[in-house]
């Protein structure tokens, strides 16, 4: 299926909307009445076996959806042409007709076409039988899909190898699994019906569609698929959106209302089919919504879920929102800073979540400093910013920060992680830094990187291809870093929760098949990467040569060109659905602690963006601004969404996905280290680098540093964003309390000395320490109590030391908030 089908309305949905609009005009419906939608908007029945279920949905003015299918009356205009059995349309005679759907006195017409009503289509293995094996759970990893199968019977996990499964079912153990003389007594049927002992229990009933498909196939003689078997091109699920009522605000989980889903597959011969009965449904968040075996979704608690639909090797998803039951509270009118806020608010309105208020100047100052340049604001900057009365002072601050070299350091570090720079020599890091300093547009930089060739020293980006000869790893890395999607699963089997098949994987790997490397004999330390112009990637199942194909895209015309150049062109093209979205998401995650798709490198059908419109907008902006990262970050940081306080409102208490408030984020190892150095005024010596080199500036992650390791720096061993660990843990707390880093720096530093000479008033020293560490003044209470302690103390210096230590150990210091 096409990547766009989740976010963009399909042709059918557009049709539905038109129907709904027409209805609204023709019926003279008063505003405030629900809109009636019928899915699908048009039905084509081809062949005697074709079926199509029609579902009827009402959309309340407050956005809630109701499944009216069971209440609706379906009346065909020509009753002889189709019949309706249990809500299913079945063909009788060829021709066209209108299906009149009436519910609550409202009517909608659905055009129906019947073709080849007499033609009996055979059951095909790949098309019909394989989905049954997936739907029944037969080929799941814990059953016959396990690498050794069960009791000697193995199926390919999630059906990546239909030909192999056909062989194993029909011919591996001749005389056992199927019996063509007595099809119904084949083990393939008696086991899942549990008519005989079956370790996996009963998988389906004898009146299910699954049983019927298998039985018919056996009755036909278990034929192998011919070359003419159509292939699924696209899968779609109706309705396009579901907003259900869950339990009340009291929070008691209770069954909310439910909605039936219908799945339709489109084939490359132009036909389509209702495959609901053969699809597998899963909910990504069962606390919010459950989905039944038959595809009925029911609301539980307030929240969001994503229902994944798998049919054979194809996947499609449907967002489901669960709101509290009862009438919607009035959503406040919120001011917006830019388009980002409009999009964030639109989502929050749907969820009925009210965002937190904006944060104060001090908080914003600290937050934007840490996020943008990885340092704390100096006390002087704090004073200047707080005193500044200009209305656009936040915007000015952002502009200043974006111009600072530390901004470059932070992002060069991030990219050095993603590109796995692990070598000081050779200048890869330096190349990256130069590119960033020059503000080279990201697309150009990536093109240079992906097409790099030559010696590692003279052409540093060529080091990106040091894993020459491993096209699979290169492909995986490129997909994960530049497209934000993980394709590793598809190396061995079709991705169960995404659209990637083994074909996709190996065809993508083929872009990196024609790379070679050799030693530079003038300087034997140097490797040279070059295009060999030959070499192919083969599919491991049938050993066929894979023509390079873009991930989720077309087979390009190579015409003898460097395959990588063709790939880089496609990747950085303005129309590429992945590249700009991925970059925008990475930038967003830097400022919010989580991506719009989270993890940022795990874009997946079953892990959709929490706000696709927002991601699209940011990506479009990035493209429109010529891939200028700084402009994108300006847009992000100036939004109210970024400037929210961390204090929750009653309705956003449990929301962590929709940016309704600021999250607490532990500072990453390098930034925390640099902040400690900055606050104490004592730089560290890291590895062999000059004193004063900040952790963020380190080109490699290999030199030993207990502090950085404890706080979870990236080892750069993989491209995974999960390499950077920002989870707090006990050893971190102990390191700060007992370790030499904090205390040693306080003792060696001259900060307290200077403060005590500069200020006579103990209150001023306390104020200065607070501003220095936390970018805020102490509260009245804090100040009074600290002063009392100061007066009682015998050694003033000691009490300041203790305070300094306590501040550096406080959560407020360790976290960005």
């Amino acid at each position: 299926m096409s990547p766009g089908s989740i976010t963009r309305p399909t042709a059918d949905l557009r049709g539905v909307l038109c129907v709904a609009l027409l209805l609204a005009c023709a019926g003279g419906v008063v505003a405030g009445e629900p809109v009636i939608r019928v899915y699908p908007s048009r039905v084509v029945l081809e062949g005697a076996a074709d079926r199509q279920r029609v579902i009827v949905q009402a959309v309340d003015p407050d956005g809630r959806t109701l499944d009216l299918t069971s209440r609706a009356r379906l009346v065909p205009s020509l009753p002889g042409r189709v019949r309706i059995v249990d809500g299913m349309l079945e063909p009788l005679v060829d021709g066209t007709l209108e299906l009149e759907v009436s519910v609550d006195g409202r009517r909608v017409q659905v055009p129906v076409t019947v073709r080849d009503a007499a033609a009996k289509a055979p059951v095909r293995f790949g098309l019909d039988v394989m989905p049954v094996l997936t739907k029944g759970g037969c080929n799941s990893g814990s059953c016959h899909g396990a690498s050794r199968g069960q009791r000697g019977f193995r199926l390919s996990v999630f059906g990546f190898d239909p030909a192999g499964d056909y062989f194993r079912i029909t011919r591996e153990f001749v005389g056992r699994r199927i019996d063509l003389a007595r099809p119904a007594s084949s083990l393939l049927l008696t086991k899942p019906l549990e008519q005989v002992v079956h370790g996996g229990g009963q998988r389906f009933d004898s009146d299910s569609e699954m049983y019927t498909v298998l039985l018919k196939w056996l009755e036909q003689g278990a034929p192998v698929d011919g070359k003419d078997v159509p292939r699924v091109t696209r899968l779609e699920v109706f309705p396009s959106e579901v907003v259900l009522s869950g339990a009340g605000a009291g929070g008691q989980p209770a069954a909310g209302d439910s909605h039936r889903l219908v799945v339709r597959a489109h084939y490359d011969d132009g036909t389509d089919r209702d495959v609901t009965g053969l699809s597998v449904f899963t909910s990504t968040n069962t606390a919010a919504a459950l989905v039944s075996f038959a595809g009925v979704v029911s609301g539980q608690r307030r929240g969001e879920s994503f229902v994944m639909v798998m049919y054979g090797e194809h996947n499609v998803g449907l967002p489901v929102i669960v709101v509290p039951s009862g009438p919607a509270a009035k959503f406040p009118a919120l001011p917006v800073a830019n388009r980002v806020d409009e999009l964030v608010h639109a989502k929050l309105r749907k969820l009925r979540v009210v965002p937190s208020k904006l944060c104060d100047d001090g908080t914003f100052l600290r937050r934007v400093y840490l996020d943008t340049i990885g340092l704390l604001p100096e006390p002087s900057e704090y004073a200047r910013f707080v005193a500044d009365q200009r209305p656009d002072k936040r915007k000015r601050l952002v502009d200043t920060l974006l111009g600072r070299p530390e901004f470059t350091d932070l992002w060069v570090m991030k990219w050095a992680e993603l590109l796995q720079v692990r070598n000081v020599k050779g200048g890869f890091f330096g190349w990256l830094r130069k590119r960033y300093l020059a503000n080279v547009p990201m697309d150009r930089m990536v093109r240079e990187l992906l097409t790099a060739e030559g010696g590692f020293f003279r052409d540093p980006p060529a080091q990106y291809f040091r894993q020459v000869g491993k096209p699979k790893i290169l492909a995986e890395n490129v997909a994960q870093v530049f497209m934000g999607t993980r394709i590793q699963c598809a190396q061995c089997h079709n991705h169960p929760f995404d659209r990637w098949t083994m074909n996709d994987y190996y065809a993508f790997a083929a872009f990196f098949a024609q790379l070679g490397s050799k030693r530079n004999w003038e300087d034997t330390r140097e490797q040279i990467v070059f295009n060999t112009g030959s070499g192919e990637v083969r599919h491991p199942i049938d050993d066929r040569v894979m023509a390079p194909r873009f991930l989720g895209g077309k087979v390009p015309k190579l015409a003898g060109r460097d395959r990588r150049a063709v790939l880089a062109e496609w990747l950085t093209d303005a129309g590429n659905p992945w590249f700009a979205r991925n970059l925008a998401n990475i930038a967003w995650a830097q400022y919010f602690g989580r991506g719009i798709v989270d993890e940022v490198d795990d874009v997946r059908l079953s892990n959709p963006p929490s706000n696709p419109e927002l991601l699209d907008f940011l990506a479009d902006r990035l493209v429109a601004d010529g891939y200028d990262f700084r402009k994108l970050i300006r847009t992000i940081t100036l939004s109210h969404a970024y400037q929210r306080a961390t204090e929750p409102t009653p309705s956003n208490l449990r929301d962590h996905r929709n940016f309704s408030r600021a999250e607490f984020r532990r500072l990453r190892a390098e930034v925390l280290h640099d902040c400690l150095c900055q606050a104490t005024g004592v730089p560290s010596r890291l590895g062999g680098f000059p004193l004063g080199t900040r952790a963020v500036q380190l080109p490699v992650a290999s030199m030993s540093s207990e502090f950085l390791t404890t706080f979870g720096r990236s080892n750069r061993e993989t491209v995974c964003s999960c390499e950077v660990d920002v989870q707090p843990n006990l050893s971190q707390a102990l390191h700060l309390i007992n370790g030499s880093t904090t205390w040693g720096k306080i003792e060696r530093g001259r900060v307290l000395e200077q403060l005590m000479t500069r200020h006579d008033d103990p209150g001023d020293v306390i104020d200065a320490l607070f501003v220095r560490c936390l970018s805020r003044r102490p509260t009245k209470d804090e100040r009074t109590r600290l002063l009392a302690a100061e007066v009682a103390a015998t050694d003033r210096a000691e009490i300041y030391q203790d305070l300094f230590w306590a501040l550096l150990n406080s959560k407020e210091f360790l976290f960005n908030h």
Binding site: G152, V174, A181, L187, V196, V197
Partner: protein, 497 residues
């Protein structure tokens, strides 16, 4: 089922062949007839001595000395002079007098071992191969006046086939060997609109009878015509394996209903009377064998081999060593050995007095799909899903020879009195082999997997079943099958071959 309609050419030929057999009478209707025929022939008609000078040297000159001759012979093997030939090459001697199947030269030129010689050329013509074989067999004579050489090495078991251990005696004087059904009650054949794959197939070693598994029935045919002779009901379920006793008097079937229960049932061939029935566990019995004494039964019950005393019906021993379903079971013709194979490739040789394990016959990397004893009881062959056939010596279980018989997997193996083997495979082919693993003949390919092979008591005939349910009878010297039918099919198959 018997094919209706005009009698096609093959049938006429088959009928005349059958009539001929009847005329030949007891002696001629003997599986070992070939051996019996050649030996007296050797006495009456003096065989020319095969010598290096007169026969073999010209072959070598024509085929080999281009490389293995001259100043620098390949692999230091010079085939142009007698003494040099005996001396061998860089890898040692290439000829063992009297033992062609251990002579490297013969193994390579007959394509039983690699590298095939001459390289990248077709195999030598049969006549030339035969000359070389007989020259080695005759003791590597140099000229007609030379004395035959002998070897101190014991002759390979594969080169010496003994007489069958049990040569059955006809019950009545003058009656041909091999029981034929007589006066069985007519039971109608269960049919279906489609056939199941042939998985149970057996042939009487002394007559042209063939038994095929049907739908809860065992169908007995005359292989010459595909004519149905009788039907044995097997309500216990699906027949999975069929076998005749060595004297052709008893026919037994292992089978059952998957996930329900298994059974082994034996019948007297003449009368169609049930002799015994043994039930087992909750799944099909995939393999079983009757002791030559007819008193006990070995059957695969899941991963265990059960030894059952037929008279009492009691299990006397449980051989618990296999790690997967036991699918192949066979007693040696003297009853002293039992070989059992499983779906995981495990193969075990047992002695049948104390039921101790003699040896694990390790080598197969896929399910053991069949085992076949050489009628003299000294060698057993096993076939596997891994595509190989392996032969084993019966006393200690020593591995003798193995070769790739069918890419994709061997489905079944059968052994003739003279030690020749027949195999069928997933490639849809049936092949015959000598004991060294040189291919003698090939039949097919069929449209689908060839599932089982059996050798009827008519010399040179083999019966092959396939996945689509067809049974075919081939004469070894003809490429077209002599008969073909599809048991248990509701409609008659379309006319033609």
């Amino acid at each position: 089922m018997f094919q209706a309609g005009p009698v096609p050419g093959w049938a006429q030929r088959a009928v005349s062949a059958w009539l001929l057999l009847l005329v030949i009478g007891p002696g001629g209707n003997d599986l070992y007839g070939q051996a019996a025929k050649t030996k007296p022939a050797a006495k009456t008609k003096p065989v020319t001595k095969i010598t290096f000078r007169d026969h073999v040297a010209p072959v070598f000159r024509r085929r080999c000395t281009g490389c293995h001759g001259g100043g620098q012979p390949k692999a230091d093997l010079d085939l142009s002079r007698y003494v040099a030939v005996l001396a061998g090459g860089s890898s040692g001697t290439v000829l063992i007098p009297g033992d062609p199947l251990q002579s490297r030269l013969y193994l390579l030129v007959s394509h039983a071992e690699e590298p095939h010689m001459p390289p990248k050329r077709p195999r030598l013509p049969k006549a030339e191969l035969e000359l070389i074989r007989r020259w080695i067999d005759g003791g590597l004579l140099s000229t007609t006046t030379s004395r035959p050489r002998t070897s101190k090495r014991p002759r390979s078991l594969l080169s010496q086939v003994g007489p069958p251990l049990r040569r059955p005696v006809p019950k009545l004087a003058g009656e041909p060997l091999g029981a034929r059904p007589r006066g069985w009650t007519a039971v109608s054949v269960q049919t279906a609109s489609r056939s199941r794959a042939v998985v149970a197939l057996a042939a009487s070693p002394w007559s042209s009878l063939v038994a095929v598994g049907g739908i809860e029935q065992v169908l007995v045919y005359d292989s010459a015509l595909g004519q149905l002779l009788g039907v044995l009901p097997f309500p216990e379920g699906r027949p999975h394996q069929l076998a005749f006793s060595a004297d052709g008097e008893v026919l037994w079937v292992a089978g059952g209903e998957a996930g329900v229960g298994g059974a082994v049932v034996g019948w007297q061939v003449r009368s169609g009377r049930r002799l015994f029935e043994v039930t087992d566990g909750d799944d099909v019995v995939l393999g079983a064998a009757l002791d030559p004494s007819g008193k006990r039964l070995a059957l695969g019950s899941d991963r265990v081999v059960r030894i059952v005393d037929i008279a009492s019906g009691k299990t006397t021993h449980r051989l618990d060593i296999h790690t997967d379903w036991v699918v192949s079971v066979a007693f040696s013709p003297d009853g002293r050995r039992l070989v059992t194979g499983d779906r995981g490739g495990g193969l075990v040789l047992w002695e049948t007095r104390q039921w101790d394990r003699v040896a694990r016959l390790s080598g197969h990397r896929g399910a053991v799909t069949g085992v076949a004893w050489r009628p003299d009881g000294r060698v057993v062959a096993s076939a596997s899903r891994d595509g190989t056939v392996r032969q084993w010596e019966s006393e200690g279980g020593r591995a003798l020879r193995n070769w790739m018989a069918h890419e994709g997997g061997v489905m079944g193996v059968a052994c003739r009195g003279d030690g020749r083997l027949a195999t069928v495979g997933r490639d849809g082919l049936a092949r015959t082999w000598n004991q060294a693993g040189s291919r003698l003949g090939q039949f097919g390919p069929l449209a689908d997997v060839a599932t089982r092979v059996a050798l009827v008591g008519v010399p040179g005939w083999l019966v092959v079943g396939d996945w689509s349910g067809d049974v075919r009878v081939w004469r070894e010297d003809q490429q077209q099958p002599a008969a073909k039918w599809r048991p248990g099919l509701k409609r008659a198959p379309p006319a033609g071959r």
